[in-house]
Point group: C2
Chain length 567, copies 2
């Protein structure tokens, strides 16, 4: 009989416990969770704050009792493992309910401690109106603050997943919201120009978005007295009236009633470090591909571990629920003798930002540049399903590929419909090692309500293959403002499209359908830089010009890419 | 300078023409279309009949004029190619407008004639109230019939894509509708048990669905006189009052005001056959993988050609828009010297049936059986996105795989949300040659509004791998009604789930969470056949029993698969 001890009862830990029991009826399985809840829906927390998930109980997927009944797992909440004795294979546990300590032996140990929100040492940040969001008690505290105070304005620091979701939730509640982000974009897994679509959406909804802005100081200005513990008052029943005065990195200040810190998370490695387990170069717990730590009896999964990046093979930290769940299941298999291997993480991610979805898989351009990996890229903006069928929305899609081999390096998509589908297709194609040549041939489901005969992905692959084969000479959005005297900017859209001020300075206009007759107006000694709305007509014009002996380039992704890159 | 002649101006032909011009500015390109319209949205026709696509003009994507302006293609509508002289490389064309005939030479010829609706020789079927739907004039005639008659009841014959879409469109217009289908299911690309979900939906909407029923005779009963051509009356202005009396294969008869024949299509091969081009074994135009016919100067694409099935390598006819479009583009490349090869057709297909989507890729079980290909299968029914986030719907998913290699053979999905996404993921995975083992590791996009940490696909792969590795001993829905005395049926759902009459005869009930304590109630000398609602708890129970020395099987897909298979 095997004794399995699991530290952490959420995604990875809970998956491992359930799988372990299915593998063995007679193993002893103990799952320690220092918090009050196991197997809760941490990804759902912002949506209960907004009220979209109305029942708090919907977030609690399992209880210690249900785990016991179904999986015969001994779940001990409010029990924190404070030390691991690897030599004698036992853990020391502190029971937070009564303060006692005890030990528990193990044959196999699984670490699934997760990651904790980073709260930087900003002066004044430790105050009753400032919160992070990691677990149910955090959520309860934020809800309590909103309910007990008259929160008219909130500030979210950090434009990542949780920051964006909290921004949306607060806005949903009718609270005026400011979003501070140190970088020049939100949602860093996607590139700056793709984030522009999100910036436009966020501003359009009335959020006060401040990019390139950090929080530098917080002053808590109470309006009534706080709970006095000496007088026997409890925090839970105080009314924390008051507000915050925030100092920003650009010298501005900002009054706010609620501050949410969401600048990121760091792996919880204290216990592993104290036990002398190896850490990786990024500070996460080191694991091999079987999810084993440097101690073969100890496995680790989830947000706390370093895994291999699928594209580069380098170490990476990817605090996402999908990998954690699958790693947990796999670690259980391996603890019972299997030799399942984790296949690396692509970092496939998606975030809802009001009516938009933003998603990506693989590497982004920033990372490729940083890692010195050669790449080329294609943009398309095309309908989520047949444009003549009601409800079609533009999918803005970016494809990154190796210009020599055509290997897929990454993909990003933004839009109101069909974003998850396109990124899932790309996640599979990349994982399968497909090339852009193969993407052209993908046979995706098509009927007018669902797709197009040439899907977004096919179209992006066509553009990419044209570039790779030299059938299209690309120019990209960030080069358009720096043309030389030897270049001429040609807008091939129709005059009706130009009247909205949506033009690039210095362009001359010849509509694509008039180009054959008016080609003689163009100089042969200059490079003609063509653009249209999304790049499609530009390609038609490009082919005409090149096949007639002109030098030309086409703006990939057209004016739409250029325009939103600036938002 | 090359002269390219294209026969057929819709999906494949129009794609080829546009691509050809992008490849060459000086090629002469002539596109013949015997109908009035080129490049129209044939997939959108049913949705204009329903009024969901309100503007008829939305279906006409290009005109001869727009094609000329943008691509310098000489488009000749109402011009039918009636003969091909391969020796001297010219075609004979009949101009339907003035009845003249002329010839046009070619260097390369592309056949994209499409497929035509099969109208069986049923007595009386040739009448003014019976229509097929292939093109815009067909659509206009159907609309005219609906508008000019008081159509209270319509009958659709054939439960394929067009039949289902027409059924829905007629229902949308408030017309009581009967659907006749000779087979025991609609939508034959999916298997019978998966079609059960569609049957339930169709009946629930009030459609008179008659499976296993053919049309055997039609009697046209006019109420007023028809247009008299002799008297100078035009069909367009007559009022075709009247109705039809249908005789059905089961002896029933049926009064109806409108009859839509949608039993299938057959490739248009007359021209190719007359020219002595090779046909394939299924009666389509033979093509090699470069889309070349038996005459190297003649290419053919679209619904009229036979291509290789991706899974079996055998010849197949797949009259779908996606392949036609991509083949057209590729044929143009090859006519200009490329050596692009078509990679076979998976037959990825999707159809909207009221609130449901039905989709599939690869081979179905019927085909695998017929071809004698060894297979195993897994079913899951799980939420389209995190079940605690509003709007989640059940995805019913079937995965077919090779039990030895784990290779993906096919997949089917039915549900109200996320069906296209799952089938697209499977279409890519299958095309990439992935196995069910690899499907487990797919890293798909997850946030509560879009997916689950363990996606439908991951879960199906888990079930499939459990079966393949022997960790789960499956029993399937069609075996449940034929258990032997050596088997005992065990329902592990909760008593609350059983009170709706949703039980299988002869089952005893022990809820999964009580099983450990009550296991002794079960006999060790019988095989315990376990089922729950969808198969998940059944697997937990199965593992418990087997790990305790019982013989057991688990109903894959649970009661839900069993129940809908009977609808």
């Amino acid at each position: 009989m095997k004794k399995l001890v699991i530290i952490g009862g959420v995604a990875g830990g809970a998956s491992a416990a359930a799988r372990a029991r299915r593998l063995s009826e007679d193993a002893e399985i103990i799952m320690f969770e220092r918090g009050e809840y196991v197997s809760f829906a941490n990804c759902g927390l912002p949506y209960h704050i907004s009220g979209e998930i109305s029942q708090r109980s919907a977030l609690v997927l399992q209880t210690p009792e249900s785990f016991k009944a179904r999986f015969n797992v001994d779940v001990r909440v409010m029990n924190e493992v404070v030390a691991i004795n690897r030599l004698d294979k036992y853990v020391t546990v502190k029971n937070s309910l009564d303060g006692t300590e005890y030990t528990e032996s193990y044959d196999c140990l699984l670490l699934s401690p997760g990651a904790s929100p980073i709260v930087p040492p900003i002066p004044g940040i430790d105050n009753p109106l400032t919160h992070s969001l990691r677990n149910i008690p955090d959520m309860d505290r934020i809800l309590q603050t909103i309910q007990m105070n008259n929160v008219e304005h909130a500030t979210v620091v950090g434009g990542g997943f949780i920051g964006l979701e909290m921004m949306e939730s607060l806005h949903y509640l009718g609270i005026k919201t400011t979003l501070l982000e140190l970088a020049d974009q939100v949602m860093t897994p996607i590139d700056r120009e793709m984030a522009g679509f999100a910036h436009a959406e966020i501003k359009q909804k009335g959020i006060d978005l401040r990019l390139g802005t950090a929080l530098s100081g917080v002053e808590y200005i109470p309006q009534t007295h706080m709970a006095s513990y000496a007088a026997g008052e409890e925090t839970a029943h105080q009314h924390i009236k008051g507000h915050l005065n925030l100092s920003l990195s650009n010298g501005d200040s900002l009054d706010t009633d609620l501050l949410i810190m969401a600048i990121g998370v760091r792996p919880e490695t204290q216990l592993a470090r104290d036990a002398g387990l190896a850490l990786g170069q990024l500070g996460g717990i080191y694991t091999n591909e079987m999810m084993q730590t440097s101690d073969p009896a100890i496995y680790a999964v989830g947000d706390a571990v370093e895994v291999q990046d699928f594209v580069t093979g380098q170490a990476t930290l990817v605090p996402l629920a999908g990998p954690a769940n699958r790693q947990g299941r796999m670690a259980a298999d391996n603890m019972f003798g299997a030799r399942e291997t984790y296949q690396g993480t692509q970092g496939t991610a998606i975030c809802k930002v009001f009516d938009l979805a933003l998603a990506s898989t693989g590497k982004n351009e920033k990372q490729l540049k940083k890692d010195g990996i050669e790449y080329q890229k294609a943009y398309v903006h095309t309908a989520s399903h047949a444009s003549y069928y009601p409800g079609a929305e533009v999918v803005s899609f970016k494809l990154l590929f190796d210009p020599s081999s055509g290997k897929i390096l990454g993909a990003q998509a933004v839009g109101k419909d069909g974003i998850d589908k396109r990124i899932d297709v790309m996640a599979v194609a990349q994982r399968a090692g497909m090339t852009i040549e193969q993407l052209q041939h993908l046979e995706l489901s098509y009927a007018p309500p669902f797709g197009s005969a040439k899907d977004v992905i096919n179209q992006a692959a066509f553009v990419a293959c044209n570039i790779m084969k030299g059938d299209a000479m690309p120019i990209h959005f960030d080069e358009i403002d720096h043309l030389s005297d030897a270049q001429l900017l040609l807008d091939v859209r129709n005059p009706g499209e130009l009247q909205q001020g949506n033009v690039i300075d210095g362009a001359i206009n010849i509509p694509v359908d008039e180009l054959r007759d008016r080609m003689h107006e163009l100089p042969k000694d200059k490079e003609i830089v063509i653009y249209c709305q999304v790049g499609l007509r530009g390609n038609v014009a490009y082919r005409q010009l090149v096949n007639n002996g002109y030098k030309a380039r086409n703006l990939i992704g057209g004016y739409r890419t250029y325009k939103f890159a600036k938002v």
